[in-house]
């Protein structure tokens, strides 16, 4: 049954086989995608026609590698900028949220906490359309009553940022809260007793203690934002983020450039993820 009990060889072997199967299932699509990024063929498919780096570096009429592909490069840059702002915003607000729900007392705290969690159970598509509608309403309101045409309210860069921020903040709040729960509040009292004011206490003591969780929350926020599709779909303007851009290409047929981008994404996110996981494991 478990490792401390005697198990029949069939049980152990069967279980191992199942787990290996499961991991193959997990990694097969990623592995295949990566390998085909180096195939010297016009299509991301077998047979293998030899190793090439063309899909990264080539700049010929029939082959444009990712590093010369302006459209994809632009969308990567858009995604990076979106992710940057989402990370900053959601880390700030999420940390405030953690402090609010862990350390402060106020009326309707339970209700507000419930509200804070709801973005996790609202489908991303719905979040996208409701923010789209609301910003449109605001835009119409500002135009009709004040005569202002505020670009901010139309689909576009900032609306994407806000849309992703709306649910990523919940994740950051939960991550930071989890660590704040373990914080010994007598440390704050000790600092107060040694002459620090409330803000010095938070700055020197509590935030120092929280910093691993805040960094890990920020990393997760960045990755979540970078790969978000469902919410972004409805809010995106002329500047397409990478997932949207890839979606349009994948839908209309594919070239190994997509594999090359995927390969880069897989390598980068895995690195960030492994670093993040190792660090948070060390913290335990």
């Amino acid at each position: 049954m478990i490792r401390t009990l005697p198990n029949s060889p069939a049980y152990t072997l069967g279980f191992k086989f199942y787990v290996i199967l499961y991991f193959s299932f997990l990694f097969a699509p990623l592995l295949v995608t990566c390998i085909l990024a180096f195939n010297d063929s016009q299509f991301p498919a077998l047979p293998w026609k030899g190793f090439t780096l063309d899909w990264f570096f080539a700049n010929e009429p029939d082959r444009v590698g990712i590093f010369h592909d302006q459209i994809n490069l632009t969308s990567i840059w858009v995604s990076a900028r979106v992710a940057f702002f989402v990370t900053i915003l959601s880390t700030l607000v999420g940390t405030c949220g953690a402090f609010l729900f862990e350390q402060e007392e106020f009326r309707f705290k339970q209700a507000l906490y419930f509200l804070m969690i709801t973005p996790l159970v609202i489908p991303g598509v719905i979040l996208g359309i409701s923010i789209l509608i609301f910003s449109n309403t605001l835009g119409v309101f500002f135009e009709e009553s004040l005569g202002l045409d505020v670009r901010l309210f139309g689909p576009g860069f900032w609306l994407v940022v806000l849309g992703q921020f709306s649910f990523i903040s919940t994740l950051v709040t939960l991550i930071v809260s989890a660590r704040l729960k373990k914080f010994d509040r007598t440390l704050e009292e000790a600092a107060l007793n040694l002459g620090a004011n409330r803000f010095e206490v938070i700055w020197h003591i509590t935030l120092k203690f929280l910093s691993p969780a805040i960094i890990s929350g920020a990393a997760i926020a960045f990755l979540m934002s970078f790969e978000n599709f469902n919410t972004t779909l409805f809010l995106v303007g002329p500047e397409a983020t990478l997932p949207i851009n890839l979606y349009l290409q994948v839908r209309d047929g594919s070239t190994p450039v997509i594999n090359a981008i995927s390969f880069l994404l897989i390598v980068c996110t895995s690195t960030v993820a492994v670093i993040n996981l190792t660090l948070s494991r060390k913290q335990r």
Binding site: L46, I122, V125, R251
Partner: protein
């Protein structure tokens, strides 16, 4: 114990509360109220709008709409269940069977694919399964098939893709509840003559209920609201409800109708989450940790 409040205004409370209130009200509460209001309005031929429940009536009148809705709900439940059945042994293996030194490594391995964009993962399945894909290539080469078969754009592939996409959100809560299950409980049950099945159903699953509920809620919600996977793997036949919403918003530019659909989806998702919590006697704030 609480810190004293000597100031008439609790500054820290104001500092923390303001951004959170702004966030939740401007981006969650008001947009969803607006969604509801929008769904209750109708534009006539002249462009004037009026209050109406016509958008909802249309949903029930047109079988294509409500059938898609029901289909999406049922498939989401199937996906949630399949995810659970597949994930439970894996979570159990990692927490209870695998040697301790592999535990951390296996967990990390488990998490890795999910950091990668959903789009990349779905794309991977597409190049594996399509007519000119890798699987067909090997099947042809080994003589199992004579002509390539299109494995994309059917329900089975779509369900598989959805299971794959949401797997993580089931495995992680299961691992964390099973980690808290004391090994000696299983040992005791075994010692008392329990069979494997009785141990699974009487000890492990009851203990794992909070994790199962948390995982199921998230998986169900993500599946229900997924657009990418059904669209790319299910193709034209996928008939996923989010595509109806997308069509209304982007293709037909009928925001009122789209809002009604969106609101119905939101109601369905909330209902199922609520029912799940009620049936298992859990609290949302406890489950979402």
């Amino acid at each position: 114990m609480r810190l004293p409040r000597n100031h008439p205004i609790p500054w820290t409370l104001v500092c923390f509360l303001t951004p959170v209130i702004l966030w939740l009200f401007l981006l969650i509460v008001l947009p969803h109220i607006d969604l509801l209001l929008m769904s209750l309005r109708r534009e006539d031929a002249t462009g004037a709008t009026s209050w109406s429940i016509a958008n909802y009536l249309l949903f029930f009148k047109e079988p294509i709409y409500w059938l898609t809705f029901v289909r999406t709900a049922i498939y989401s439940i199937i996906v949630t269940f399949l995810t659970f059945v597949i994930a439970l042994p894996v979570a159990f293996y990692i927490t209870k069977v695998a040697a301790f030194r592999f535990q951390g490594f296996l967990t990390m391995l488990l998490l890795l694919p999910f950091w990668v964009s959903e789009l990349v993962r779905v794309y991977g399945w597409m190049i594996l399964l399509r007519e000119s894909g890798i699987v067909n290539h090997f099947l042809l080469r080994f003589g199992i098939l004579e002509r390539p078969v299109e494995m994309l754009y059917n329900d089975a592939t779509m369900v598989m893709g959805l299971v794959y996409t949401s797997m993580l959100f089931m495995v992680i809560p299961l691992i964390s509840v099973l980690e808290n299950l004391d090994d000696s409980l299983i040992e005791a049950a075994y010692d008392l003559g329990g069979t494997m099945w009785s141990i699974v159903f009487r000890i492990i699953i009851p203990h794992a209920v909070p994790g199962i509920v948390a995982g199921s809620i998230v998986v169900f919600m993500l599946t229900l609201g997924n657009y990418l996977t059904p669209n790319l793997l299910g193709g034209k036949n996928s008939l996923w409800f989010t595509e109806q919403i997308y069509n209304q918003f982007i293709a037909s530019f009928n925001w009122n109708q789209g809002s009604a659909f969106g609101f119905l989806l939101l109601v369905l998702s909330s209902l199922v989450v609520w029912a799940g919590l009620k049936l298992s006697g859990q609290k949302l704030s406890r489950v979402m940790k």
